[in-house]
Each structure stands twice: as C-alpha cells, then as structure tokens.
Symmetry: C2
Subunit: 606 residues, 2 copies
C-alpha cells in the first residue's frame, strides 16, 4: 500500500505520514502520526480525536477492542491543542459514518499507542471554531499570534504566499534575471524624512538607514552590466501608517538593461499571469489593456480606474456655457470646466442618499455637487428651470437618471467625481466580483506642480526618464513633460509601477535641479554614488516593482495585509505579540552613543 | 539561422542578441547589440572594439568596405567603458584570426551603425586588465564598487550566488519546506549587546532591534504547526568585526517538526550536495562522516577538524607519569594531562622554526611547548635525558619525527596544539586542496563552564535541547550534559549548525535558570513570547542554519566574503561606496526622539 509522494516527503523518524493525506488506499497500514488535538469527544465507550497538522485533519478512534484502557483514558484526558504522537491502524469507516467534508473522511485510525509530547494550556482563543462562530477581535488575535496562526485560513494564506514566491523567482530566473541582494544597512536617502535610522556602535554619532527601496542599487547593477536584476526585497518606510500599510513590506523589484517600455510591460504581464494562475485564476489576458494617464483622469477622475464598471465622467462645459446659470457660468469664466457623471437609476435615490454623495465630493475638496434628475419625463433640481431644449438634448438623460456635476478645476473635480462614481457603483451593485480587469496606465506627467508656489515634485521618483519628445517640444516647460512611466492596475488597485530611468548623468543632474536640488555639491552628497555610476557608462535601463504583500492579499482573498504576513505590525507600527518597539536601558543606548530626549529640542533626558 | 534559447530570452527591443553568445552558426545574420567598450584598437584602416556584456565579449569591426566614415570615426573615438548600441552582420573570421580564448572567437561583427548611448568618463580603475596585471588595492576597489563589479570574476561570483539561491529554495520546497518571512523590525533579544537598534518615530523612547537570527520565530512557526520552515534570511550582528565577518549576513535558516537529529542531517546532506553540484563539485558523499565533539577535541584539539590531513593529538600522560621530569610531573599531579602531536619530518626544522610554533601555542594560551626530536636514532631536547626505554617505546618516534607536547588543562592544550598542527600541516604541504571532507560534529556539551566562577553559558544557544539520557544520568550536573546539537564542517570550516530544541516549556525555563535567568518575571519579559508558544502545545522540533555567504565564497573560490556580496562593508562596518554610516542633522534625530551623546554617560550633545 503506497502513500502519495507528498506524503512520503513529509515522513520522518517520528511519523510515517502527515495527518491530512490518509485515504482509503491506506486502509490496513500501520501508521505513526503526530499532530495537534483539534477536537475530542468522549462517548463513554469510545473516544474520538480529530488530529490536525498542516495537511489537514484525521480522526483518531480509541476503543477497548483495540487499545489498552490507559491509552483510552489518556485520549479522553488530553486537552485541545496539545501535541501527541500515536500509532495505529488505518481502517475504513462504515458507509454511514463517512465524512464527506474531510479529505480523510473515509478512514479513521484505530490507535494502539498514544503519547502526549506537547501538552497545551487552555488556549487564550479558540483554534477550532464551529460554523458561523465569530472571530475574536483582531487585537486579541495579534496578541496571541502563536494561536491565530494555527487557523487553517491563515496557514493557507502563507502557503499560497510561499508558492507565489517560488513561481515568481522561477519565472524571473527563466527570463535571465539574476537575484542580487542589496544592503539593509545603507545610507540615509533623499526622502530621509521617512527613513528608519540605525545608530552605529563603532562610529559614534553616525547612522545607517534601512532602505525605502533598492532603487539606486538596482540602477547601479545596470551600470555594472548585470543586465537583469530581481530581488524580492524587504523595504522600510517610517510614516504614520494608513489602515493598510506596514512599516516593513516586501516588493518584487525588477530592473533590466537595453530595454524600452514594452519589454518591461511584457515581462510584467507574464509574471503576474504566472502568479495569478498559481492561485487558480485561469483567465489572465496575455496582454493587459492600456490607457494614458490623461484618459484615465478625464474619464474616471483617477489614475487607477476600476474598469469593472463604466460610469464615466464627461465634460459638460459646452452644455453649461449656453445656460444662464450663475454658478457654472462663473466657474467656466474662470477657466474651470463642468464635469459630471450620469447614474442610471440614481433618480430614485432620496435626498439624503444624494446628500451622502455630496459629502463624499466635499470630503475630496469640491465645493458641492450640482444635481439634476429626470423622472417621468420631468427634470428636477436647481438646474432644471435653466435647461434649454438644446441642453436637454446634449445631456441625453434617460428616465431614472441622476446627473451629478462639479464645476471646478480638474484637480478638484477629478478626485471628487471619482469618489462619487465609486460609491454609486457600490450602491448599484455594478461591480462584478469575479471580473479581473488588468490595466496599464501610461504617460504619467513627470512632475506635479504646486498650484501656489509653482514648485515641481516628481510624480514617480527623480530617476524616472522624461519622454524625450516632450523635452524637445517644450524644452522650457517641464510641467508639460510626460514620464516614461507605467503603473499596472487591477480592478482599481495598483499592483506595481515603474519607469524607464534617466541614464544620462547630465539629464539626471538637470532633473535634480528642476526638483530644487540645483547645488552641484548637494547633488553629489546626496546622489553622488548614483551619478558616479551613470558617468561610468550607463546602458538604457528601466524596471518595475510590485507590492508583493498586496498581491498575496488579493490572491488569498484576505481582507488585510496582516492576514498574509506571519508576524505583522498594527497600524500603530507595534507588534503586539513579541512586544516591539520597547524602551531600552540608558546604558545600552550609551553604547550606541545616543540618548533618548523629549521631542522638544534642547532637553535631553537619560 | 536560429540563436540559442538563452540568447532569445535575452533579446529585447534594443538588441537582438547578447554579445557573448554569438557563434559560427550565426554567420550571415544581421544583429543589434548593446554593451560596454572593453578594449579598442585603431589600426588606421580598421577599428576593432571588444564589446562586453554579462555573457562575454564579441569583436566589432569597423572598416571602409562596410561602414560609413563617420561610423568608423565614432568607433575610433569612443572611450573604454562607454555603452554603445550597434548593428552589423555576423561574419566568420579567417582561420588564422580565430581567437580560441573567446567564446565568440570564430566570428566578428561588421558594424554598419553605431550609437554611443552611455559615454563614460575615464574609469578610476581599469576594468579590462592584461594577464598578470595586478589588482588595485581593495579599498580603492570598494570605493569604486560600480567599476569593480564590472569585472567578470565578481560577476561570475554573483551569478553563482544567484544559482545557489535558486537550487537551495527548489530543494527545500521539493522537500515540503515553506518559505516563511520573519520581521526585520523586531524585539531586542537576550543577546542584546550585539543588537542593532532602531528608534521609533511614532513611539518616543522605544526601539526595535534588527534580528541576529530568526531563531525564536522559526520555533514559533513549529508551535503553530507550519511543520517545515525555511528562509534565506538576512541577519545582523553589531560587533567588532573580524577580518571575515559582515555586520549583515545571509543564512539559510531551516526548522522542522516531528523530527530527530537524523532527519535534519539527511536534509542538510542533500541540500549541501545540491549546492556543491550546482557549482560543479561532483563528488559530494551522500552521507557525511560523523565524529563526536569529545573525539574531535581529543584527536584534533578543535571542534571543526580539517580531515584532509592527520597529525592527530595523543594523550601521553601515562608515558610522562613514569618520567622524573618536574614540569610534566607537577602538571600531572594537578590533574592536567600531557598531550602532544608527532610531526614526521619536523626534526629537520630549525630552532627558529620550532620557536615560531611555540609562539603560536603561547598565543593560544599555553605556557610553552615541550620539544623532542629524533634524528639519526638520537633524541634531542630538554626531555631527552629523562627518557626511559619504556617511554621511548611508548612514544614510538621514527627517525625525523618532531614531537611537541603541552602539559596543561585540556581547555589550554586543545587550542594550542590545534594551532600547532594546522601550521605544521601547512608547512609540510599535507593539505590536498582538491579534497573535500565533510564532517558532522555531534554531541557538543550543552554548557561551557567558567573555570573560575563556575557559571554556565550555552555552547549553542539556550533553546537547544540537552540529551535526555544525560539529564537522567546526571540530573544535578548540567555541566556534564551533552546537547542534541550538530555542526557540519568542511575542511575545517564550519558551514552550519543546529540542534533539536527544547519543546517542553518547563525544561526551557529550567535551562534559562541554569544560565542565570532564574527570575520568572525576567524570563517572561525576555522570552515570554517563546514560552507562550511552547505552552500552547509544541511538537518535537529542531533545525539548522547555514552561513550562505561563506558557502558562496567557498564555492566561487573567492578569497573574501566581500567578493560574494554586491555591496559589502569593510571590517570597520563601513560601506565605502555609498558612504554609510553618516552623521545626521540633529533636527532629524529630534524627530526620532534621540540625540547623539558622548560615550561618557551624562554628557549629551546636540
């Protein structure tokens, strides 16, 4: 009687088989098992234990016909979550006792010997839960992570994560990418405000920084001629955490030489396809849809549109230009546009329901939301009496439609209408949960300009290459330059992004200058080691990085990043289980040549 | 004409082929290449460039018969290490011009167009070196790492490292191991004196620590039922660095449940075998030799003996007990032993040469080295006149032998004689460089006892399980307990080590107590999260960790760890290239609620 190959891989000195893989074909075998007592039932004459390991559950049976009284007593007494070793015979269950919900449901083990090797105290929270039983609060689960991680759901998430790691590396290796490791103890970066710093014991008063990403290192690998690099890299960002961020996170980091945008995009499509298929999603397109940033903002008000529903924004400026309606007329006169979205069926919503939408728009910065609805052939709303026949024709509303407009600068109307349309899609249940719409967003602007000061900031990062066509066409208007950047988006979530880099050191210096770092000495101090690499002869290169935690979360269907990270931190950057961070004796800090001080400058304390 | 599959994987929008893979079969093809100008020669009528990329070199040829004058001028002018793109036809070289030293030596490219895309300043150190040309000093190479990493030797090291990473993970995955990631921002550990600490911006006065190893996490994974864990983990140790240490290093970290020592040893033998074969070492034994710690110390004076040569230590106490020689008699009377090593041929060494050996022994703590040599049938040395016939017979020296003795406690004689025998093996060229002697060293003592205070310290770590036989036989003499630990050694170098862990929380508490952490509250504060995991039901488990950097160094034949790490630090823990660590403005530190202070306590400075 042979067991499955998987089973034999997992056999050890102490166990012949893992629990969850025993099948009818194993009947008659004597097996040694080890595992956790998931549940137990003492029926007087018989004792049953569901024994659990990573592979699943199997039922142990203890009865006087095959085991000694002391063994049965031990089985009746063992506490849940204790670890036992046992030996017994695999027997077939009678037909009416077969459990179709268990992989091992056709068999049980008639145990002849039992040893409790890891007795458990009463668990602080239950591992085995009945159907529909509520989960304990997350804080409690994080505090007792050693128990929460026993739940099959979390185990499956981490097993999937493991498989995604393996297929990703294999795919990249097969495509000629080298896994090259970069330092964790590195130099504080330009975006230093979010660096984690590490004091040096050996060099008093000096600090390393943990990397926010291996960006500069991967570009240097290209300058050195490694041609293709990847790393599944731990990155660190010290910032106030949003609900779904972690202070340390994992990214699949990729860079390649002698390439242009299509090379990286094709590679990324293949890599995501491999991961999605590994998770059982069969229908990933070979090529993803593409959209320019300008189109995404125009039609969806957002640079990562969820294409599972339509509800596009439109420009109604020309319609409103012909109306004698003060609010919009004034806005149009000041150079703004009137943009809006038409919600089929929205006319049926109550005033309160539409007020909620307006609150969302205001929360995103809009002054208000102009409403117009058409029901039973009639128009309703502040605008209704100003509508001309031409305007009605141009609006082309159907009965039951609700139209919502924002008259403002695009940078205001886009996020406002984006939030409105997202909420409407949810309300109207327009989102097909089973659909997966992958999308490339291209041609991001290189810079974002402060509307007041006119100062430029990099939309991606300072190493992204501007589109050379734009540099030639508008040499003195960098705010008009598009970047050779690309983001990949799935159903409104950004999976990753990257760009072609500036490989010419003079252009790179100019970019730093445009970003306000014009001083050559400061450039050298902050970016010298990249500039030195570029000056030594740099190939055309570019890359991409994917948020691996997020991908693992999406593919496991988990609600939070914390469900795909073994030992995560809370949104307050604390690990509740280990208990970090903690205060440290002043003597230990003295060894590091630092002292804790109050936030107020000038008042150190020991 | 088809190119190799490897070649097609590396083709991109900007190049049809990598440089180093073009062969005779490609003759007649028009190719687009990109690479670095390795060397160039202007022969007047013709210009030749050796173009380099990761795959090797290919010769570009520029001549008036096939290329325009401006292309040839550009080729003549381009500086070494510049990056170019070119197009041309692959042609066969005439027989007498074939270069057998180059993979591409049968062909050259008649270039028709050339573009300099990455002009290079004059390199600060040469990348292309003539045969026998000396390497620049390491400090210079580390300072200009972006150039040094262009050397094919370093590139090959990192490519091998990449391959070792891939085969290791594949092997472990195939054996049911899950790659599970553990935090880098974690809790300061018991061995806190060597922790790197990271101040928290969010939690004033509190610190994370970088992990010295994922030890506790991997044991928790076992308590949680993940069954088999691995991680190729970055670890950190803040200590004064020896010549061949790095502040951050990589280990292959492994842990498994329901196992005993043989399970881990078999797995480790398989894993090392896979890595060694990947590096082209075919003859790794399926099972490694085994030796107890006691035998290793007795016969080699060392717990990681190099078995490529013999020169064993022997106990000569009984011989010396019968001699009337004060030095040794006194030592023996005090309970010490007289141990020694016989060096065939050593009798020919000068007094100075033997003095050098004695200096080594003294450096290792011995009071001196007692010498005896036999040449031409006669004995020579301070001991000679005290030798009885029985003693001579027992010593059994051959003509030409030099015998060297240390009369002292084993903890003194072992390291002293170990250094002596290592030096003798080198002098006598007894070491077969091509031999690979893998060895398991087993049964380490659990504790090492301070000879003065009697205090115990863990030889491996506090989580290692003592041998239960010894605990039963000598319940009150923990200094006599052996540990269920194992080290794997190759040619005198430790590759890795591990142990079966204590899975019983009561035994673990007792171990902490023996190590001087008797206070229950202190145990909970320092190790609570492990103890909690064990109390929740722990399986028998154990594991091993391998020094991956060292393995990559051995298998690449590199002289230093710095040659298998892309961006290493110096022995002073500095990265010369990026420039880390660095001082940080006091304002930035204030954000982290810390200030730099002098080493003298009580005198903070801003």
């Amino acid at each position: 009687m042979s067991s499955s190959p998987q089973s034999s891989v997992l056999s050890t000195t102490l166990r012949s088989d893992p629990c969850g893989l025993l099948r009818r074909a194993d009947v008659g075998r004597t097996v040694q098992l080890g595992g956790w007592v998931h549940r137990s039932r003492d029926l007087g004459g018989l004792v049953f234990i569901d024994l659990r390991d990573r592979t699943g559950l199997v039922q142990l049976a203890f009865g006087p016909a095959w085991c000694a009284a002391d063994v049965q007593h031990l089985a009746a007494a063992v506490g849940v979550e204790s670890v036992v070793l046992c030996e017994g015979e695999v027997v077939a269950r009678e037909t009416e006792r077969v459990n179709p919900d268990m992989g091992t449901g056709e068999v049980e083990i008639r145990v002849t010997s039992l040893k409790i090797v890891g007795p458990a105290v009463t668990p602080a929270l239950p591992v085995a839960r009945g159907r529909g039983e509520k989960m304990p609060a997350e804080e409690l689960r994080l505090r007792h992570r050693y128990l929460d991680l026993r739940r099959p759901e979390l185990q499956e998430n981490l097993v999937l994560r493991h498989r995604l790691l393996q297929v990703s590396r294999r795919y990249l290796t097969d495509h000629g990418y080298l896994e090259l490791e970069t330092p964790i103890l590195t130099k504080p970066t330009p975006e230093g405000a979010r660096d984690y710093l590490v004091p040096s014991r050996v060099h008093p008063g000096e600090f390393y920084a943990l990397p926010q990403s291996p960006q500069i290192y991967k570009q240097l690998f290209m300058c050195c001629g490694f041609d293709r690099y990847f790393q599944i890299a731990r990155c660190f960002r010290d910032e106030d955490l949003r609900a779904d961020r972690q202070p340390e996170f994992t990214q699949i980091d990729i860079e390649a030489s002698f390439i242009e945008r299509p090379d990286i995009m094709t590679l990324a499509e293949g890599l995501l396809g491999v991961m999605w298929r590994e998770a059982g999603h069969a229908n990933v397109p070979a090529q993803f849809e593409r959209m320019t940033y300008a189109d995404a903002m125009e039609n969806y008000g957002c640079d990562r549109p969820d294409l599972r529903y339509d509800l596009r924004l439109r420009d109604y400026s020309s319609v409103f230009a012909a109306l004698d309606f003060a609010v919009t007329t004034n806005a149009l006169a000041s150079g703004a546009r009137v943009r809006g979205v038409v919600i089929p069926g929205g006319a049926a919503w109550s005033r309160k329901q539409v007020d909620e939408l307006e609150a969302l728009a205001k929360g995103a910065g809009a002054g208000g939301l102009l409403r117009l609805r058409k029901a039973d052939g009639a128009y309703d709303g502040p605008l209704a009496k100003f509508l001309t026949e031409d305007a009605k024709a141009a609006l082309a509303l159907n009965d039951g439609d609700l139209a919502l407009f924002v008259a403002a600068a695009d940078r205001v109307s886009s996020p406002a209408l984006d939030r409105v349309r997202q909420e409407c899609a949810r309300r109207l249940e327009l989102i097909d949960d089973s659909a997966e719409r992958f999308l490339w967003v291209l041609d991001f602007p290189m810079f974002e300009q402060d509307p007041e000061s006119g100062a430029l900031a990099a939309v991606h990062h300072p190493f992204t290459a501007p589109n050379p066509e734009d540099m030639a066409a508008f040499p003195d208007e960098p705010a008009r330059w598009r970047a050779l950047a690309y983001d990949v988006v799935l159903n409104g979530t950004e999976l990753g992004g990257g760009s072609i880099r500036t490989s010419d050191p003079a252009t790179q210096s100019r970019m730093f200058g445009l970003l306000g770092i014009g001083d050559a000495e400061e450039q050298e101090r902050r970016f010298g080691f990249l500039l030195e690499g570029l000056r030594a002869g740099a190939p055309p290169h570019g890359g991409i990085a994917f948020g691996f935690d997020r991908i693992a979360m999406l593919l496991s269907g988990a609600p939070s990043l914390r469900d795909v990270i073994a030992f995560p931190k809370t949104t307050a950057a604390r690990s509740l289980f280990e208990g970090a961070p903690v205060s440290v004796p002043a003597d230990d800090l003295a060894q590091l040549h630092i002292a804790v001080r109050d936030a107020r400058p000038g008042s150190p304390r020991e």
